[in-house]
């Protein structure tokens, strides 16, 4: 049995694995694809730390900017920790070979992202997440950490309130596997793909760990807070990084006029764009004035993707954009040690709610969160594993698990009368329209009603492909089921929060209400979802 089982191999998972290993624990990492294919690779803009390399900055400013953007529902102590340890985090990345871009003085280059009072985001061209992820992967290889790919999380194994492992589907073989562990870290990412094609995220951001944790009795929080990134490419939802505006890009309406402060926090900019699109039909990002040389060197991905997906070259043309689901602030509710309400079960990264982003995350803070809290979570989980002497012989996880045939259930028993791929797209459209940037009671009730119908139809949906080996339809269907559960939470929380706060905006209640300066807690009671506000 391994000491620490890490599920998810993005930035958070790999840093946690390194942290646990450093503490002397044995570690195993599972991922549903491959480590370097995780969502982290898509982070472009940068990682925040008040180094003050580009202009004066301080931990205090970083703290204040983050707190302000969180709109009252963050944990000040955790923000303080995030910001003050940020500088050490960058030094650590530098020490393991992270290839940051540099200033002419040779220090790490920094640029300004939305909501920041200073250029604070350290970057590596627009490949910041990619290069951090790969550097971490190389360190995991150096530290001989076992990483198993193509394992899809099905269930957490919990005995007498203590976690003891996980049940996963080996996608390659179609077999169910049990991985026992003394402590488990979930680092499975966010749930932006609830919005399907209207999301910047990779297709795998389906919140699997959050849904599975919920079913195991884990409390979640703040699920209604979904960040919409202001600038996704209009047709393909591919992200145009905030650095495009940070470097001086403009937002223009159909008449070619600027209409908003490009560097306000993301929630404000997204709403401004959404309203402008409702009004005039089109919004563009304009970076032509930055010049070809600058764009090719500092925003290479942006140029390539705009050409490929929209047939426009941002060096010479305006790029049509729309705001799209980008980051989910809510997730698994954790304490200050990143532990859930189940002993030995930890969560970190986008799947967790460490309460540093509150109602709206600042650009550059999520990569930082991975490093700062990832290392610590790894250490905490290692400590917990050492103290976990509770697992007596015969009490092991595998003894208690039924090895049912997953495919048999989903293929043979289902009639497949309703096509879940169509429903998946339909759900995405419903949510973008009704549970998106501008919400109101009517829209939310419609979405909830839609979801209830969808859940009733679920027994009519299934997997048509009966081949056990590498069955991606099976994986897609399991992800879709997770999405449905999470979607219900997002809309239920949004209905209960009768106010506007950060990324959660209600047209019918457009201002903040002190009564709601609380976290929304979600938990399972029998088969029923319970939603409660809690300070």
């Amino acid at each position: 049995m391994v000491d620490v089982l890490v599920i998810g191999a993005g930035g958070a998972g790999l840093v946690a694995a390194l942290g646990a290993k450093e503490s002397g624990a044995s570690v195993k990492v599972l991922t549903k694809s491959y480590p370097t294919r995780s969502q982290t690779c898509m982070a472009q803009g940068g990682i925040n730390a008040a180094l003050g390399n580009a202009s004066e900055d301080s931990v205090k400013s970083h703290y204040e900017n983050t707190l302000k953007s969180a709109h009252g529902i963050a944990n000040k102590k955790m923000i303080e920790k995030l910001c003050s340890e940020g500088i050490e985090a960058i030094k650590w990345l530098d020490s393991i070979g992270m290839p940051f871009s540099r200033t002419t003085e040779g220090t790490i280059a920094q640029r300004r992202l939305g909501g920041a009072s200073a250029p604070r985001a350290c970057y590596a061209q627009d490949y910041t997440g990619l290069k951090i992820l790969h550097t971490l992967y190389d360190q995991c290889n150096a530290n001989d950490i076992e990483m198993l790919s193509e394992r899809f999380l099905l269930e957490l194994l919990v005995e007498d309130g203590v976690v003891c492992g996980a049940k996963v589907l080996n996608i390659k073989t179609g077999e169910i596997e049990i991985h026992e562990a003394k402590s488990v870290i979930l680092a499975t990412g966010g749930y932006s793909r609830v919005y399907g094609k209207n999301s910047t995220n990779a297709v795998g951001s389906t919140g699997d760990g959050i849904a599975v944790a919920y079913r195991a009795g884990v409390k979640l929080s703040d699920m209604e807070f979904v960040q919409f990134h202001p600038t996704g490419l209009k047709n393909s939802s591919i992200l145009i990084s905030e650095s495009a505006r940070g470097e001086g890009g403009y937002l223009l309406n159909k008449e070619g006029k600027r209409f908003t402060d490009e560097l306000a926090p993301r929630d404000e900019v997204s709403r401004a764009i959404y309203e402008e699109i409702e009004k005039s039909g089109e919004v563009y990002i304009d970076i032509r004035h930055l010049g070809e040389e600058f764009i090719s060197h500092n925003l290479p991905q942006e140029r390539k993707l705009a050409k490929l997906y929209e047939n426009v070259d941002p060096v010479f043309e305006l790029v049509p954009i729309k705001p799209i689901a980008h980051y989910t602030m809510g997730g698994i509710d954790v304490d200050e040690d990143a532990q859930t309400n189940i002993q030995g079960l930890f969560a970190v990264g986008e799947c967790a709610n460490q309460k540093v982003h509150g109602a709206n995350r600042l650009g550059g803070n999520s990569l930082l969160e991975l490093i700062v809290f990832g290392r610590e979570t790894g250490k905490n989980a290692a400590k917990s594993a050492k103290e976990n002497l509770l697992i007596p012989a015969g009490h092991s996880a595998s003894a208690h698990v039924k090895h049912e045939d997953l495919l048999f259930d989903l293929v043979i028993k289902s009639t497949c009368k309703v096509d879940f791929y169509k429903k998946r797209d339909e759900l995405a459209e419903q949510f973008y329209k009704n549970v998106g940037i501008k919400r109101n009671e009517q829209k939310l009730s419609n979405a909830l009603k839609y979801l209830q119908t969808l859940k009733e139809q679920l027994p009519l949906m299934g997997v048509r492909d009966s081949n056990k080996l590498y069955n991606t339809e099976l994986v897609d269907f399991l992800e879709f089921k997770n999405i449905i559960d999470l979607a219900e939470m997002v809309v239920s929380g949004a209905l209960q929060r009768e106010e506007s706060r950060g990324a959660h905006y209600r047209e019918d209640m457009p201002s903040e209400n002190e009564v709601f300066e609380k976290n929304t807690i979600y938990y399972k009671n029998g088969e029923k979802l319970c939603v409660q506000l809690k300070r």
Binding site: R37, S95, K131, T135, A202, Q301, L308, R464, Y470
Partner: protein
């Protein structure tokens, strides 16, 4: 438009009325509308996660950045065990990163680095591990233990990093089944979606190895080696 997809032992043709889509969008269309059993991998849709590398008419591409032409033949990557349709098992291939000891040794000294020095390995660290170069490398047809292009580029990324104070481990690791097993045929270069030239990095590693006192075994044996009694 017609495209052919190699599905295990057979080639299946699809007639599609789709225009101006990427290959990945087209495959997704087939999966969700025509045949849900088609297996392929995808992730970011934007050329940065390396999930969807495959071969089109014998050339490696990322499905998410390639726009298909009428008559294209789509096949999985080579030299990795086929799992199903367009999906191969990359575990063994990725394992070469470890064999090459392609990583940095943590240092406690924080250095200032000029933008010029930072640029030395900027391109190498753009690698997304998609496996395109690996599949294009003909050496694998005869030498499955070859460390190969992406792992060697990764090794050079760290060896060339001005922050690294001790690169002996990595240099030693790429001597056997490594830099000298490459034929410098250049097949890996044009297929890299990130514009990286592994061949060039392998040449750089050879030069560095030479400076560090390693000998090209091919060169040595072509002169009969040092133990053959050849005297000057």
């Amino acid at each position: 438009m017609k495209i052919d997809i190699k599905r295990d032992e057979q080639t299946v043709s699809y007639e599609l009325a789709c225009e101006d889509l990427t290959l990945l969008e087209l495959l997704t269309h087939i999966k969700t509308e025509i045949d849900s059993s088609l297996a392929f991998s995808s992730g970011c849709r934007s050329g940065v996660c390396g999930s969807c590398a495959m071969r089109v008419n014998g050339k490696e591409v990322l499905a998410c950045t390639y726009k298909p032409q009428d008559g294209d033949l789509i096949e999985p990557l080579r030299y990795a065990p086929l799992l199903r349709d367009l999906v191969v098992d990359m575990d063994k291939a990725l394992g070469f990163n470890k064999i090459a000891k392609a990583w940095g040794l943590p240092t406690s000294k924080i250095l200032n680095i000029s933008p010029k020095d930072a640029e030395i390995n900027e391109l190498q660290s753009d690698c997304i591990l998609c496996g395109a170069c690996y599949s294009a490398c003909p050496v694998y047809a005869v030498n499955p233990g070859f460390i190969g292009p992406f792992a060697l580029t990764r090794a050079w990324r760290y060896v060339s990093d001005v922050r690294e104070t001790d690169v002996t481990q990595t240099i030693a690791a790429v001597q056997t089944k490594g830099i000298y097993d490459c034929t410098l045929c250049n097949e890996c270069v044009p297929v890299c979606p990130q514009g990286i030239a592994p061949k060039q990095d392998i040449v750089m590693l050879r030069n560095k190895s030479g400076v560090m006192g390693y000998m090209d075994p091919n060169f040595a044996s072509s002169f009969g080696g040092f133990d053959s009694g050849f005297t000057f």
